[in-house]
Symmetry: C2
Subunit: 235 residues, 2 copies
């Protein structure tokens, strides 16, 4: 937690907040903060700034806060991800939020196991929890939009062409394809497949929607590693 | 497991192997392989090739194997990593192996909690287990060297200058530093700090040994994400 993320309900006065949840525990156990300490704070969806710890008891922490900077810029990116297995989903949501992806589409694919769609980690509150952890890590305040598309074909045929219009459309896919470009200018739509990869039909459909396959070398990476590697290369 | 990694003890004849451990379970549960199936195989430390499944019972799997290709090239890199917390260490070891890092130094730093050095995940067999998972993921066969340096100062003063000689020496460090270079030619020595970062003294000592600070933007990334992002950008 490199930023204490605050919500309207935390405020007891214009510049005063009172914390009683896991953020209090974190201040006590990890920061080992003491009254007078200055901490980086952010307003969910808004600016970042500093908080001065006024009071810290086992029951609550009180801070005086001020906000003076915008949060870091987001990447000009829509990321499509074949739904990963639940444990990986949690980490990928954190990675996506911490790297500044503003819009994530979780998509079905032939090689996504049907059971993955049943996970409680796909519930809005669970998704939000992981995104918040990613924002706190990266000192961002703006939640990414997460869109869930359980049907590949209608999404890719009917909605993806508009989403990808005017962007550089790419599909991360191992094979005899051009190398993923570096340091691109302008917006990107990037699709990353499931463990085992997209099937040829899916690569074709994504290409029809404007996304061209690119590769990162002969090594097959875990989804989470592929996400951070592709984003670091593109931007 | 995108590659079945074989060791000399698995061989019952020149081109025949017999598997009884977690690789057997994986063939049954994940691959759901049937006799006649062809699987990608590799010889630990050696070539990669194909295996044909001859026989699969609940007790053992028998394959006929041949090796016809070299494993993927390693990165020209020595990676220094402040020892991460145990859970992160496991994943970082996989990431390091899967991305093709040939040499990893796990290093102490002021902000490494002393308890991290007590973890059983630092035992050679535990390190090897995670590295093997990373190799299987990326279809590599060659174990990275992992060097454990519990004392920062003697390592950085006495051994790092020789290790880094003739390489581009870099320290990943947030702050007002040049951006991490892209697509470099030639060998690199890269140091990545602990959660909370290197302290100024450590940055100075690393600079004396030939490693200059570079940054990846204002977002603070988890160690695992920083490793894959920095490597994808450098190579």
């Amino acid at each position: 937690m490199n930023l204490l993320l605050l919500e309207p309900a935390d405020f007891v006065a214009e510049r005063r907040v009172l914390l009683r949840d896991r953020r209090l525990t974190h201040l006590q156990d990890v920061h080992r903060a003491e009254p007078g300490a200055t901490l980086r704070v952010g307003l969910l969806g808004g600016a970042i700034g500093q908080g001065r710890l006024l009071r810290l008891t086992t029951a609550e922490a009180e801070l005086e806060v001020e906000f003076d900077q915008p949060p870091p810029a987001k990447l000009p990116l829509t990321l499509l991800l074949a739904l990963p297995r639940p444990k990986m989903l949690k980490r990928v949501l954190q990675t996506v939020a911490s790297m500044g992806v503003p819009r994530l589409v979780l998509l079905n694919s032939y090689r996504v196991e049907k059971s993955f769609w049943q996970t409680p980690f796909l519930e809005p509150a669970a998704i939000r929890e992981q995104l918040i952890l990613g924002l706190e890590q990266a000192r961002d305040t703006v939640l990414p939009d997460v869109i869930i598309e359980k049907r590949f074909k209608p999404f890719v045929e009917d909605r993806l062409p508009q989403l990808a219009a005017g962007t550089l459309g790419l599909v991360g896919h191992p094979g005899d394809y051009p190398t993923c470009p570096r340091a691109v200018e302008g917006p990107v739509t990037l699709a990353i497949g499931p463990e085992g990869g997209w099937i040829p039909y899916e690569v074709d459909k994504l290409a029809e929607a404007g996304l061209q396959p690119v590769q990162l070398g002969e090594r097959i990476l875990r989804v989470e590693t592929a996400v951070s590697a592709l984003l670091a290369r593109l931007f």
